[in-house]
C-alpha cells in the first residue's frame, strides 16, 4: 500500500503532519466521509488535482491506524462472514477517536 505513483488515479496519497506518506486505494479511502466528500466534489479543490492530502493535525502512527482501519472496513463491510476484532492500542485510543471524528470514519 505504499508504492505506486501519486498520479495513479486508483490511489490517493495521505500525508501526516510528521511526514509519513500513505498511498491507499481511492475506493478504500472513501470509507472516510471527509475524503469521500472531497473525491466526489469533482476536482474543484486543490487536493482533488494533486491527489494528495496533508493532514496537519494527524500524527503518523494515528494515520497509519486509520488506514489500517479503512482497509479492515473495506474488507469486512457487507460480508456475512465472521468479523475479527480490530486491535486498538489503548495509548492511542483517544487521539484515534478524535481523528475518526474529524475524518468521519
Amino acid at each position: 500500500m505504499s508504492n505506486g505513483g501519486a498520479d495513479d488515479a486508483a490511489y490517493i496519497k495521505l500525508v501526516s503532519n510528521d511526514g509519513f506518506v500513505f498511498h491507499i486505494h481511492k475506493s478504500v479511502a472513501r470509507g472516510s466521509g471527509a475524503v469521500r466528500n472531497l473525491l466526489s466534489s469533482s476536482g474543484q479543490f486543490k487536493e482533488s488535482q494533486t491527489n494528495e492530502f496533508n493532514f496537519r493535525d494527524i500524527r503518523g502512527p494515528i494515520l497509519e491506524k486509520v488506514c489500517q482501519y479503512l482497509y479492515y472496513k473495506h474488507k469486512y463491510d457487507q460480508t456475512w462472514t465472521e468479523i475479527p476484532e480490530f486491535p486498538i492500542e489503548p495509548e492511542i485510543a483517544l487521539e484515534l477517536l478524535m481523528t475518526a471524528d474529524f475524518l468521519d470514519v
Binding site: G33, L38, Q44, F45, K46, N54, R56, D57
Partner: protein, 835 residues
C-alpha cells in the same frame, strides 16, 4: 486567489495549543469567509480542502457552530443580493453596478405590477434567473462540502437545516422573493407567457423553461407543515388556472367552428401537446392535473355535443369512419360518463339501423307477392334479405367493435342488447332466421363454397342469439329441417349436424334432442328401406308387376312436426304417398295400396307392438306420362298423383268436376283445392279448367287434361303452390312412383293463416312449458313466494322464450285448480307444493 491558500500554510499553528483557541477560531472563520468568496469567484481549485475543512471543524469543535452557521448564511445572502442588484436592477452587463434605471427590459420588472410583456423581457428574466441559479447551485455544493463537519455535527444538535437546504431557502428568500424586485411575479408571468406562446403555436426556449421549472421544484416553500415546493405552492395553481381558462375558451371556439372529426383531432392534439409540455419542462406531477383539466374542459364538457353533432356519432357510423370513431372512443374512455354516453348513442343508433332493416323487410314482404314457382334459382326473398341485412349489420358492428372500441365488453353487451331489441321487434324474426338457414342448407344453392356457407351459418347462429322467442324458432327450424331431410334436400349432413351442435351450445341439450332424433330416423329409415327391397326381391312376389319402388321414411312421431297427428303416443308412423288425414279417408289406387300393405307387414314383422300411420300428404311421386308424343317425368305430391290418376281412368277430352274428383280421391276439400290449383293454374298447366279463372271454385269448376301441354324439359317438378291461375291438360300414366316426404312449399314465408295457427300452437306449447317449469321449481322448493316463483320461472325459461308474467300467473291459477299447488292460508302470496 492563491495568496489565501498560501497564507495559512505559512503560519502553521498546532491546534493543540490551548492558549490560542480563540485566535484559531477567529482565524478559521476568516479563512472560511475568504474561501467562500473564492468559491464564488470560481477559484475553488486554489483552495486546500483539508484546510478549510479543518477550519470549519475547529469552529464547530470549539462551540462556535452558531457563529459559523450564521456567518455562512449572511455571506450567501449577501452574495445573492448583490447579484440581483447587478443583474436585475442594474444593467445586465455584469460589471455595471449602477442601480439607476437603464433602458433594459428587466428594469420594467422592478416596477411593481408591471409585467414583462415583450418576449425579450420574458426570456431575459428567465435567463438571468437561470444564470444566477446555476452559479448558486454550483457554489452551494462546494460550500456544502467544506462545511460537511458542521452539517454532520452542529446542525442535528441545533435542530437547524443543513447547509444545502439553507442555501435553497436563501435563494428562495433573496432571489425569488427578493424584496428588491418581485421576481416571483415576473417569473410566473414569464413562464405563463411562454406557455401561452407555445400553445398558440409560437416557439420558445424550452431548455430555459425547463431549468427554471426545475429550479422552482427544488426550492422548498416555507409553509409550516405541508412540505411543498415553491413551484407547487406558488406556480402550479395559477398555471392550472390559466390552462383551464385557455381550454375553456378553445373548446367553445372549436365547438362553434369545427365538425366532430376535427374537434376530436384537436382535443387529441391538445392532450398530446400538454403531455409533451409536462415532459419537456413542466413536472410529472403537473401532467395528470393538466390532463384532468383537458378531460373536464374538452371531453366531459363537449362529449354530448360531439355525439349529437350532425357530423357526430351517427354520421361516423354511417360513413364507416373508423379512425375517428376509434379516436372518439379513446378520448372518451378518459371520462367514464362520456364513454357511457357514447355507448348509449351507439346502441341507440344500432337499434335505429335495425328498425330500418325491419321496416324494409316488412314493406318488401308486403310488396312482393308470395309467388315462388318451380324455379330452382333462389329468389332474393325479402325474408332472406332481412337476415342478410341483420348479418351485414352485425358484421359491421363487430368490425367496429374490434377496430374502434378495443372489443370493449361493455360496448359489446350494449350492442347485443340493441340487436336483441330490434330483432325481437320484428314479429317474424324466428321464422325468418330459420328460413334463412334453410335456404343455405338446401341443395341447389349455387355459387357458394362450403366455407362461405359455413361462415353464413355461423353468422346466422349469432343472429339466433338475439332471438328471444327461441321456442318459435325451434318450431320453424324443425319444420324446415323435416322438409330438408324428407325431400333429401340437405346440402350436407355434416353441415346440418354442425348447425345442430351450434344450437346445442347455445341452448342446451333439450333444445336439440328432437332435431337429433330426426336425423336418427332418417338413417334408420334408409336401413329399413334397403332391407325392405331386399326382402321384396327375396320373396319375388307378384308385386314386381306393380313396377314401382316404394321408399318409406319411418319417423318417430314425437320428433317430427307432422301436419295432423292423430295416432296415439309411443308409436312410429310413416309418411308416404297419397292421401291426407290418416289412412282411411283417402282412396288409394289398389296398385299403390298393395305396396303399402307389403311394407306394413314387413315392418310390423320386425317391430311388433308399433303402429304405423301413413302420412300420404307428405309424400311425393315420380310419374311418367305422355303428352302428345313426348314423355315427361313429373314429380308431384301424393294428392296430385291421385288427381292425375283419376284423369288417367277417363278419356282425354272428358271433364271431371271438383265434386267428382273429391269423391273419387277422398281428398279433403282444402287440400284438393291446393292440388288442383297447382295442376291447373301453376307454372306447368297439366289440367285445363273451365271456366278459366285464377282460383278454384269448388261448386262450378270442371277440369280436363291439357293435351297440348309442352315443355322443353323432360323432368318437371310440380310444386304445390298456394295461389295463382292458368289452365292445363295432361295425359298421365302412373307407371312408376317413388314415394317419400313432405310436399310443403319450400323457402317461403308462412301465410297469415298459417302464422296464426303456428302462434296458437306455440302459445299452447308455452303454457305447458310454464306449467312444467312451475311444478319443477315448486317440487324442489316446496314453498315459495309469488315474486320469487315468477322470477325463477322466467329465469328457467329464458333460454327458450321470454315468459310473460301474466301467463305465468294464469298457469299458477290453473295449477292451483288442479291441486298441484295451494296458497298459504295465512299469506296469500306464498304457494305450497302439494305432493
Amino acid at each position: 486567489m492563491s495568496f489565501i491558500s498560501r497564507k495559512p500554510k505559512a503560519k502553521i499553528r498546532p491546534p493543540k495549543s490551548r492558549n490560542s483557541v480563540q485566535n484559531a477560531v477567529q482565524e478559521g472563520w476568516q479563512r472560511l469567509a475568504r474561501a467562500i468568496q473564492e468559491i464564488y469567484r470560481r477559484n475553488a481549485s486554489q483552495l486546500s480542502y483539508e484546510e478549510v475543512y479543518r477550519s470549519a471543524y475547529t469552529m464547530v469543535v470549539h462551540g462556535k457552530g452558531e457563529q459559523l452557521y450564521q456567518g455562512v448564511q449572511d455571506l450567501i445572502a449577501e452574495h445573492l443580493e448583490s447579484r440581483i442588484k447587478s443583474q436585475l436592477l442594474g444593467s445586465n452587463a455584469a460589471g455595471s453596478t449602477a442601480p439607476t434605471e437603464s433602458a433594459l427590459p428587466s428594469n420594467t420588472s422592478s416596477i411593481p405590477g408591471a409585467a414583462p410583456s415583450t418576449p425579450a423581457a420574458t426570456s431575459n428574466i428567465l435567463l438571468v434567473i437561470e444564470d444566477i441559479w446555476t452559479e448558486h447551485l454550483t457554489c452551494l455544493l462546494l460550500i456544502k462540502d467544506i462545511l460537511m463537519y458542521m452539517d454532520r455535527i452542529y446542525c442535528p444538535n441545533a435542530h437547524v437545516p443543513v447547509t444545502y437546504e439553507v442555501g435553497l431557502q436563501l435563494f428562495r428568500d433573496h432571489v425569488i422573493r427578493s424584496n428588491l424586485v418581485p421576481v416571483q411575479t415576473h417569473l410566473l408571468d414569464a413562464v405563463q407567457h411562454n406557455i401561452d406562446t407555445e400553445r398558440q403555436g409560437g416557439s420558445i426556449n424550452r431548455s430555459t423553461m425547463q431549468a427554471i421549472i426545475r429550479l422552482l421544484t427544488m426550492l422548498p416553500d416555507n409553509l409550516p407543515r405541508i412540505p411543498q415546493t415553491v413551484y407547487q405552492h406558488a406556480f402550479e395553481p395559477s398555471l392550472l388556472q390559466s390552462t383551464t381558462a385557455f381550454y375553456t375558451q378553445q373548446g367553445a371556439e372549436w365547438a362553434k367552428h369545427l365538425g366532430a372529426p376535427d374537434f376530436l383531432r384537436r382535443i387529441q392534439e391538445a392532450l398530446e401537446a400538454e403531455d409533451q409540455r409536462c415532459d419537456l419542462y413542466l413536472t410529472q406531477d403537473t401532467k395528470p392535473k393538466f390532463k384532468e383539466i383537458l378531460k373536464a374542459e374538452l371531453i366531459a364538457q363537449y362529449a354530448e355535443t360531439l355525439i349529437a353533432l350532425p357530423t357526430g356519432v351517427i354520421s361516423l357510423v354511417n360513413d364507416n369512419q373508423h379512425d375517428t370513431l376509434r379516436l372518439m372512443y379513446q378520448l372518451f374512455s378518459l371520462v367514464p360518463e362520456s364513454l357511457e354516453a357514447l355507448k348509449q348513442a351507439l346502441a341507440e343508433h344500432i337499434h335505429r339501423l335495425g328498425l330500418e332493416i325491419n321496416q324494409q323487410a316488412l314493406t318488401a314482404t308486403a310488396s312482393v307477392p308470395q309467388k315462388l314457382r318451380g324455379t330452382s334459382k333462389p329468389e332474393p326473398l325479402a325474408s332472406l334479405q332481412w337476415v342478410q341485412a341483420v348479418l351485414v349489420l352485425k358484421q359491421r358492428v363487430d368490425y367496429m367493435l374490434a377496430t374502434c372500441f378495443d372489443g370493449d365488453k361493455q360496448f359489446d353487451v350494449a350492442f347485443d342488447q340493441s340487436f336483441m331489441k330490434f330483432v325481437s321487434q320484428h314479429p317474424r324474426a324466428p321464422e325468418l332466421v330459420s328460413l334463412f338457414l334453410d335456404h343455405y342448407l338446401k341443395k341447389g344453392t349455387k355459387g357458394k363454397t362450403e366455407e362461405e356457407i359455413d361462415a353464413i351459418v355461423t353468422g346466422t347462429i349469432a343472429v339466433f342469439r338475439f332471438l328471444t322467442d327461441r321456442d318459435v324458432f325451434e318450431r320453424y327450424y324443425k319444420q324446415h329441417l323435416a322438409r330438408r331431410l324428407l325431400l333429401d334436400q340437405s346440402i350436407s349432413a355434416d353441415l346440418e349436424r354442425s348447425v345442430i351442435s351450434m344450437l346445442k351450445t347455445e341452448c342446451g341439450h333439450h333444445f336439440t334432442s328432437k332435431l337429433e332424433g330426426m336425423f336418427n330416423d332418417i338413417s334408420v329409415s334408409a336401413d329399413i328401406n334397403r332391407q325392405f327391397h331386399e326382402h321384396l326381391e327375396a320373396t319375388t312376389q307378384a308385386s314386381t308387376g306393380a313396377g314401382f319402388r316404394l321408399n318409406v321414411q319411418v319417423l318417430t312421431e314425437s320428433y317430427w312436426p307432422l301436419p295432423t297427428v292423430r295416432t296415439g303416443p309411443k308409436t312410429d308412423n310413416a309418411a308416404n304417398t297419397s292421401g291426407r288425414q290418416t289412412d282411411n279417408s283417402v282412396i288409394i289406387p289398389p296398385l299403390v295400396q298393395q305396396k303399402f300393405d307389403q311394407f306394413t307387414d314387413f315392418y310390423l314383422q320386425r317391430h311388433s307392438g308399433r303402429r304405423l300411420t301413413w302420412q300420404h300428404s307428405t309424400g311425393n311421386v315420380d310419374v311418367r306420362c305422355r303428352f302428345k308424343n313426348r314423355q315427361y317425368w313429373l314429380n308431384v305430391s301424393g294428392y296430385q298423383m291421385l288427381v292425375l290418376w283419376c284423369f288417367d281412368q277417363i278419356p282425354d277430352q272428358a271433364f271431371l268436376t271438383f265434386q267428382e274428383l273429391a269423391q273419387e280421391t277422398g281428398i279433403p276439400e282444402y287440400e284438393l283445392r291446393l292440388s288442383l290449383r297447382t295442376l291447373a293454374c301453376g307454372k306447368y298447366k297439366l289440367l285445363t279448367k273451365d271456366p278459366k279463372s285464377t282460383d278454384i271454385d269448388p261448386t262450378v269448376d270442371k277440369f280436363r287434361i291439357n293435351v297440348d301441354f309442352a315443355s322443353p324439359l323432360t323432368k318437371l317438378r310440380i310444386r304445390p303452390a298456394l295461389s295463382s291461375g292458368g289452365d292445363g291438360r295432361s295425359k298421365s300414366g302412373a307407371s312408376g312412383a317413388n314415394a317419400t316426404a313432405f310436399g310443403q312449399q319450400g323457402g317461403q314465408v308462412e301465410s297469415e293463416q298459417e302464422q296464426h295457427e303456428t302462434k296458437a300452437r306455440i302459445e299452447e306449447a308455452r303454457k305447458n312449458l310454464v306449467e312444467a317449469a312451475t311444478v319443477r321449481i315448486m317440487k324442489s322448493r316446496r314453498q315459495l313466494g309469488h315474486n320469487e316463483l315468477l322470477a325463477e320461472v322466467t329465469r328457467q325459461l329464458q333460454p327458450r322464450f321470454m315468459a310473460n308474467p301474466m301467463m305465468i300467473k294464469q298457469r299458477i291459477e290453473v295449477l292451483i285448480d288442479r291441486d298441484f299447488l295451494e296458497r298459504d292460508p295465512n299469506d296469500r302470496r306464498i304457494y305450497h307444493y302439494l305432493a
